[in-house]
Amino acid sequence: MVEVNLHGRQPQTVISLRHVEELHEWSYRQTQQTVTIGSAVPYSVMETGKIAELVPALAQAARTVGSPQIRAAGTLGGNLGTCSPAGDSLPVLSALNAVIHLIGPQGTRDVAWGEFMLGVKKNALGSGEFVHSITVPVIQGWQGYAKVGTRNAMVIATASACLVRDTEEGLISIALGSVGPTIIRCSQAEKWLRKTNSLRAGAQINADLAVEFGRRVSDEATPIDDHRSTAAYRRHCVAILAQRLLVRSLA
């Protein structure tokens, strides 16, 4: 609607999905330990309750979206359709290796997160396709999301990060928002941490290691100067965010 209101976009056909019930539903598959969320489920539903228990990082990200009015209307489908690097939910979907379920004239297909976002506001959606739902795993271990902006409410991320610590697999994954043309998954820093430290339950991480992890994460960011912030500040932000999230994951 912002594009219509402010940028003169004139859609000639509108398809309302309000009454397509399956897009507004979400489910927890206990046997597979996955949560599948319809593309039209609003952020207000993810902020609290069962989804927040199962996927806490997603709830934290949902809680930072705009205002209550925006969270009552905004959805994962919207974040994925727009595919802005500042989309608040997207680092969470990246760090959790989400699978995006698409539906279109040719039928349905599943796209791994890593193949979905192609660039700034570019995604793998084909002509006539739309996002049906998103599946994320329920992880044993800590997960969290953090965002830097100019104020608490109603703010687009200057930089954001999601860290997931899978204690069963002994893996840590971290993804960054607003510091590159796509969400950035810091696979080099992840690999370094895996080699350096056992990440299984009970592992200790000292302060020096957390600082070095932050430095390596920020090396993988490709931020730019723009009207919201500078590349240098964004690089600094993601180092601190990564460091804090790693420490929190072991607290």
Binding site: N5, Q10, V14, P68, M154
Partner: protein, 164 residues
């Protein structure tokens, strides 16, 4: 482009308990535009038109939303409540009276959005904490009052409703 090329259709909106046919509207019009310009309900205000200011807040199916971000044609079959639908027979609600009493209205442009947001807050949570009040009004911007008097107005309503 002709009207037909722009995809005009007739549809009906439910606003403040009444059905309103919307005719000759371009299909991409926002709910805010349709309420104000086609249905004669100018209570919701248009300012930022990108969901940042909250002055266009209405309640749609028990959720407070920015009407500038809702496509009107997609609001068919929902129940919409605007500031015009709050008072009985043109009288002020206790929330509106409290805003006046506390000095929560100065230029007044943000006021309808705040009134609807407070109405929605107290409907869903009659005893909100200070933090919950601030959180629920975080999507409404006021450039005059500094918010203190608006928060005061909400507290007046809560204590008066408690007492009655």
């Amino acid at each position: 482009m002709s009207a037909q090329e722009l995809g005009n259709e007739i549809y009906t909106l439910r606003v403040n308990g009444q059905s309103h046919p919307v005719q000759d509207a371009w299909i991409g019009e926002s709910l805010l535009y349709v309420l104000r310009e086609r249905l004669g309900l100018p209570g919701a205000k248009g300012a930022c038109e990108q969901g940042e200011c909250g002055s266009c807040t209405v309640v749609m199916d028990s959720q407070a939303v920015c009407s500038c971000l809702v496509m009107a044609a997609a609001a068919v079959d929902t129940e919409i409540l605007t500031v015009e639908g709050l008072g009985e027979n043109g009288s002020l609600t206790d929330i509106q009276q409290a805003f006046l009493a506390a000095g929560g209205v100065q230029c007044g442009f943000c006021t309808p959005g705040f009134i609807v947001a407070v109405h929605h807050l107290l409907d869903s949570n009659p005893e909100p904490s200070e933090d919950q009040i601030r959180e629920s009004l975080s999507g409404n911007i006021c450039r005059c009052t500094g918010y203190g008097r608006i928060l005061e107005a909400v507290k007046i309503v809560i204590s008066k409703r408690d007492a009655s």
